[in-house]
Amino acid sequence: MKSEKSRYIMPDAEDVKQEILQKYPAKVAKKRAKSMVVNDPEAGQEIQANVRTIPGIITQRGCTYAGCKGVVLGPTRDIINLVHGPIGCSFYAWLTRRNQTKPPTEQSENFMTYCFSTDMQDSNIVFGGELKLKEAIREAYAIFKPKAIGVFSTCPVGLIGDDVHAVSKEMQEELGIKIFGFSCEGYKGVSQSAGHHIANNQIFKHLVGLDDEVKGGKFRINLLGEYNIGGDAFELERIFDEVGISLVSTFSGNSSIDQFTNAHTADLSAVMCHRSINYIAEMLEKKYGVPWIKVNFIGAEATAKSLRKIADYFGDTELTAKVEAVIAKEMPEVNAIKDVVKKRSEGKIAMMFVGGSRAHHYQELFNEIGMSTVSAGYEFAHRDDYEGRHVLPGIKVDADSRNIEELEVQKEDEKYRADLVAKKTKLSESGYRFSDYDGMMPEMKKGSLVIDDISHWETEKLIEYYKPDIFCAGIKEKYVVQKHGIPLKQLHSYDYGGPYAGFKGAINFYKDIDMQLNSKVWKMIKAPWENEPELVGSVAYAEY
């Protein structure tokens, strides 16, 4: 099957798009057409994103609660995340995202293996759930003595009018620990994305800025939008450690809330997943003057580039030398494995439909082993993640986004880092780029097909037309695609492997893709007799 790829003729993306739309009812087709763009990186095209999913279309998307509790707050170990709602919401977010964590000692707090819920019953829906929530907070405190509790609202909570913020405030006063709420009801917004924003707001409002102590380290940064799936953060921590960069905070892989409270003391914020965390990056800059840059540690080349970019910011010869030394030390092993894998993967094609940054970042890794991405899209990103941040001023705020709070952040004079602002001004003049992200589309080839919030039908048609060698998405898509005899790489959970970030991560990824592409199983799907009907009854036994 793979050897035929040399004769493979890429379908015309416009034809595929029209073929997909044909099946849709007229109104659906009209709407979906705007979310499907045949890419031309020079043309500055607009894609429709962050809009409502059409009911019934079979989407990959989840809800605001998932983005808030599951994604952003999930990886922080030393806070009790109490879900106020029926049992399911808390149950499904229980250990299901592979955010690894490493408490510093055996005694350190780690509540990530626990699932906390008020398990709302019909009586709570009818008479209100605030009393039960208060009691649950008291019980959680009595048993676990945490230093902080986050309270997460689920759909019915918003509808019956339970005020999680008032309850949290009251209980904070009663118990003397940090308690704050999140209005992350599942129906808000149009996807997980709204939940990221809500999580960013509340973390910033309630935690960031509480601890002013400037802790050790000469080059002090925050790593934003890194969630330690499969140990990604561990690999990045290793690299930073080697080059001598100190992580003040990570939002939020392998994190503790103490790091969040101290984040404003960093000298730079480096943003990985722009979609889920850019709000905190922006607010840190606005309030405290800490500038941010976009980085990408998915891909060995991308990792080297991002390390150099951080080193350039600090402009310290020693740091630069260390960064170069580490890159020089790591790359031979990376290249050795890459060269072996590339022999088998070169020229193969991939597709990825996932997340709000991964569908972009992982193209780098595939490029490194000679594979091209012919179609890609995000599950919950916005236009700026596709087209670049320059489109931000022009994005119309619709009703679904308007009801997600935009925090009013003011400059805090006492803690404001005028020195960093001056540094930023100076570096900007020499062409160093801050607060910027070009998005996915400028980096994708002309003629590739970009699809936002892909539906099941669209997935099926892409497979039929492109016959990709590998498809990247999530667990819901995994076995659908694999029934076609095409491997699917999960880019949310990494198929329980990883890490994929940094240098060692790149090596893991090359090997895992090689394993998936070249697994013998894909060649054994057809039984030997299926293509040989003459086999049946072909032997005539002689009569004895």
Partner: protein
């Protein structure tokens, strides 16, 4: 330690659930609906519900789990979900062409009071439902009962919607399947067929969630109870429900609608529950018990007698759903094991009365179901006095590792091992598999941990 904050000191809880031994209704409704041929489950609520339920089921089965959602926004939460559901029905039939859309509700659509019956009627009136196709629904509020309740409600929905009584009885019985695996459903069908009984079983997820790899994805796999079969259940001579929690409501609904008498028994897990199932089949299917069934039973008894010494007196903690836990507890007792701690998040008073009877001769046994009956409590009991074996879903792994206790995966969800969808745990053959698994776990531990001079070659 993974669960480092769990201690043996039990403090009263009335409001806080920690590490639940249940989840919410809609996932059960989704699973049940997948057991009908050509059916697409539809979740009337926020997108997250559908996404989470598909994810949980996909991880449990490692198979495609297709379902759609009404994709509520804040606007629909305020103004009602009618527009979303009508649009969903139109979109689904246009693109995905199922025979049936099985709608289940969520806490969101229940709290705002959407009248799904009326909305679906509107969809029919507006010709959004093509001729010969069906939309039906079950009310599955997440804040009542558990995932088992959702399963029961969806099965009841089918039992209320489809059966027709033509007045002419058929020589067939209905088997309403409780929440068991595709492998279990396949085994039940094998047993009933081996007795020469004609039957319709619903739901039936075999050949839906254990599908072969063919190189082609099929949206509606070949399995599942068909519409003609469902229509015919109204003319069946009798209904046997398997599992009180999961099937009683459906059996009652079918009786009310079509006058089909019924009896609900335990899931045939273990020896005596299977004995009772065979007796039920024999009685209401008017069939004698064939030699093959006696042989299956005999093999199970033979193995138990061979290996009894390794199981005798072993203390077991188990968690899961009442329909499973009751016959499993009975089976453990039959093996002379000691099921000392049992929790289920699923409410229902029958749980206590059944357990009380079963455990009358085991005074140290503790059991609890419903509110605050969770895995945290179970773990605290284990901390107070340890057990030799834990039986439950994948989440038990964390307790098992911390306490170094052998762990048998059994129930829903199993996210980290395969087998449950392919190898049954019902019937005598299933019981044999359970015994084999328990023995392997207990004996492996002995092999690995006993003093060197005590390692046995022959066991």
């Amino acid at each position: 330690m993974l669960l480092r904050h769990t201690t043996s000191e039990i403090k009263d809880r009335t409001a806080l659930t920690v590490n639940p031994a249940k989840t919410c209704q809609p996932v059960g409704a989704m699973y049940a609906a997948l057991g009908f041929h050509g059916c697409l489950p539809h979740s009337h609520g926020s997108q997250g519900c559908c996404s989470y339920h598909r994810t949980a089921l996909t991880r449990h089965y490692k198979e495609p789990v297709m379902a759609a959602t009404s994709s509520f926004t804040e606007g629909s939460a305020v103004f009602g979900g009618q527009a979303n559901l009508v649009q969903a029905v139109e979109t689904i039939f246009a693109i995905y062409e199922p025979d049936i859309i099985a709608v289940h509700t969520t806490c969101l659509s229940e709290t705002i009071g959407d009248d799904v019956n009326q909305i679906l009627q509107k969809a029919r009136d507006e010709d959004k439902v093509p001729k010969g196709k069906y939309v039906m629904h079950a009310s599955t509020p997440s804040y009542v009962g558990s995932h088992v309740t959702g399963y029961a409600n969806m099965v009841k929905g089918f039992a209320s919607y489809f059966p027709v009584s033509t007045g002419k009885k058929l020589n067939q019985i209905n088997i309403i399947s409780g929440w068991i695996e595709p492998s279990d459903m396949r085994e039940i069908k094998r047993i009933v067929s081996s007795m020469g009984i004609k039957f319709v079983m619903f739901p039936d997820t075999s050949d839906v969630l254990d599908n072969p790899m063919t190189g082609k994805f099929v949206m509606y796999p070949k399995g599942g109870t068909t519409i003609p079969e469902m229509l015919s259940t109204g003319d069946s001579k009798f209904t046997i429900g398997l599992g009180h929690w999961a099937t009683t409501d459906a059996a009652v609904a079918l009786d009310n609608k079509c006058k089909v008498r019924f009896e609900v028994g335990d899931l045939p897990i273990g020896l005596r529950a299977t004995d009772r199932f065979i007796k039920l089949l024999s009685k209401f299917g008017t069939a004698s018990v064939p030699e093959s069934v006696n042989d299956d039973r005999g093999r199970l008894i033979d193995v138990i007698s061979d290996m009894h010494q390794y199981l005798y007196g072993k203390r077991v903690a188990l968690f899961g759903d009442p329909d499973q836990l009751i016959p499993m507890t009975e089976f453990l007792l039959d093996l002379d094991m000691k099921p000392v701690y049992i929790v289920s998040g699923t409410p229902g008073n029958d749980f206590s009365s059944r357990m009380e009877k079963l455990l009358a001769n085991l005074p140290e046994a503790k059991y609890k179901n419903g509110a605050n009956a969770d895995m945290f409590l179970l773990h605290q009991w284990i901390k107070q006095e340890p057990v030799d074996l834990i039986i439950g879903n994948t989440y038990g792994k964390y307790i098992a590792r911390d306490e170094k206790i052998p762990f048998l995966r059994f129930g829903f969800p199993i996210l980290d091992r395969i087998g449950h969808s392919y190898f049954p745990s019902v019937g005598y053959t299933g019981a044999l598999r359970l015994v084999e698994k328990m023995l392997s776990l207990i004996m492996d531990k002995q092999d690995m941990e006993c003093p060197e001079e005590k390692v046995e070659l022959v066991m």
